[in-house]
Symmetry: C2
Subunit: 282 residues, 2 copies
DNA sequence: CAGGGACGATACCCTGACGGTATCGCCGCA
DNA sequence: TGCGGCGATACCGTCAGGGTATCGTCCCTG
């Protein structure tokens, strides 16, 4: 099976529409139809059910969508990591570490400091990205190692080491009635009609529907929270970034957030291993 | 990057010889040369160093060999699992379980029995294979779940659950001087010139070099051991398969063998999950 | 030192896979 | 009953990728 076929199938399986998929792939619809039916013939399995008016996945199609995405990620990772591999001595080697912008700042600083002190340490390219994006970077080889947050990020398929477990706090504007409390319950804050949760752009840049305000950065978030336009639920360590306008109240029943350092299980990079070791010794 | 290019590169990287690689791929040498240099141009990285007389991998080439193998495995796994996915109700679904022939027989029987008793259990295709082969089957999607043995099999990239940890024994012909001992040390048995370790065929069917006899099956192994032609080092549980001609003596300093059940981390199969649960409840 | 052989690169040709346009067939809907 | 949306089919052109022949280089050897 060629990656081209996989890409074609994944596009159709995601769009469930040959025309749109073809457009997304930058080709015409007929060759796409042909490629898919040829793939089905070669596999000997129906992948899509085309009854008039709607395209749906068969059982096998769902499997191929799932496994195919993983395979495409692996191929892309091979390509990216090869591209980044320094051509034997030329140029300086480096590691790419992906982390959520604005999260675990102190921990990260300590980690980088500890690693830099190691003998034989190389440059660390820190990539700050939006929530959930680190996982993608790691799976597609654009990053070598990442700081992830359980249970928000999907850790399946990665090797991980736990760095920190903490509770979560509700961030409220100073003066809000609940700020007099020493702790709150999750349902007390998530149901507040005047303080909806903010909305972040997805990978495609569009925003999910909902009542909350749209935000693109952490500074925007904090500003919106200070203005009483949104509620933030953040890990405990984020308190250090709050100013006087904002008050953090622990949420007693919110799930604990575990910060982990993660890397692809087959990684052979010494730099990654050293980074992980430094992180654990921190 | 297309899988064809990856396959070509992996072949050359493994053979370190364009002619042989081309032969293995069933194409002529010139198109292979072209494909590789084109790949290098597109990646912008040198993958191979061709100084006269020898082809060697560059740093980047080593990365692509490693990551590329993983990617090819993932693509093949996608293909195999899709092919095996029952076309929505047609035919009976089944799981493929790979295990080393002759190992952990009792444990396996209990596991299968426990699983079969579960509500909603499906047929389990048990594939008996040579040592180390299960891992490959699992990585390439020809199996859904496998019984592996730490530290012999490479578990990186799999989710696992431990089932059993045991010591190892030396299997000697009845009457051998060491059979009077209640335990031995590893170096006492591996250095015996009269009892070399047997040799197994590799994946390509050829035998490694060495003094030991060649064997293809477990019954051959036991027969060779009984004839005093070879030494066997096996996990403790293998004692149940020995007859009177053979005596097992515990090796005090041999590493413990852990039997695990392993599956790909992104598996979504309910059957696999049920099997693992049954294995733990066994 | 000349000749041969091993090996990868280059030159050149040819086939067919893949993409494009035009059109069909089917279905749902006004 | 005609129209529009959508996937499949027919047909055609192009170029990517495979084949053969040959070259250039290096090493080995007589």
């Amino acid at each position: 099976m060629e990656t081209r076929e996989l890409r074609y199938f994944v596009a159709v399986a995601e769009e469930l529409h040959f025309g749109r998929a073809a457009q997304r792939l930058g080709i015409a619809q007929p060759p796409l139809s042909r490629a898919i039916s040829q793939l089905e013939r070669r596999l000997g399995v129906a992948l899509l059910k085309r009854d008039s008016r709607a395209v749906t996945l068969t059982e096998a199609g769902a499997v191929l969508l799932h496994e195919g995405r993983a395979a495409l990620d692996a191929v892309e990772a091979a390509e990216q990591r090869t591209r980044r591999a320094a051509p034997a001595g030329t140029g300086h080697a480096s590691v790419v570490l992906a982390t959520k912008a604005g999260a675990s700042g102190e921990l990260l600083a300590k980690l980088l400091h500890a690693y830099a002190a190691e003998p034989g340490s190389v440059d660390v390219d820190v990539v700050l990205c939006g929530p959930g994006e680190q996982e993608r970077l790691l799976r597609t080889g654009r990053a070598d190692v990442a700081i992830l947050h359980h249970p928000f990020d999907d850790l399946t398929g990665f090797d991980t080491e736990e760095l920190l477990t903490e509770g979560q706090v509700a961030v409220l504007p100073a003066g809000h009635p609940l700020t007099t409390r020493t702790s709150v319950q999750l349902n007390e804050v998530t149901d507040l009609p005047d303080l909806p949760l903010p909305r972040w752009p997805g990978v495609d840049g569009s925003y999910p529907d909902g009542p909350g305000p749209e935000a693109q950065s952490h500074s925007q978030l904090f500003q919106l929270a200070a203005l009483g336009r949104t509620l933030l639920v953040l890990p405990d360590s984020a308190r250090s970034q709050l100013n006087d306008d904002l008050v953090a109240v622990p949420i007693v029943d919110a799930p604990d957030v575990t910060t982990v350092i993660a890397w692809p299980p087959h990684s052979r990079s010494r730099a990654v291993a050293d980074l992980v070791r430094a992180a654990l010794r921190r």
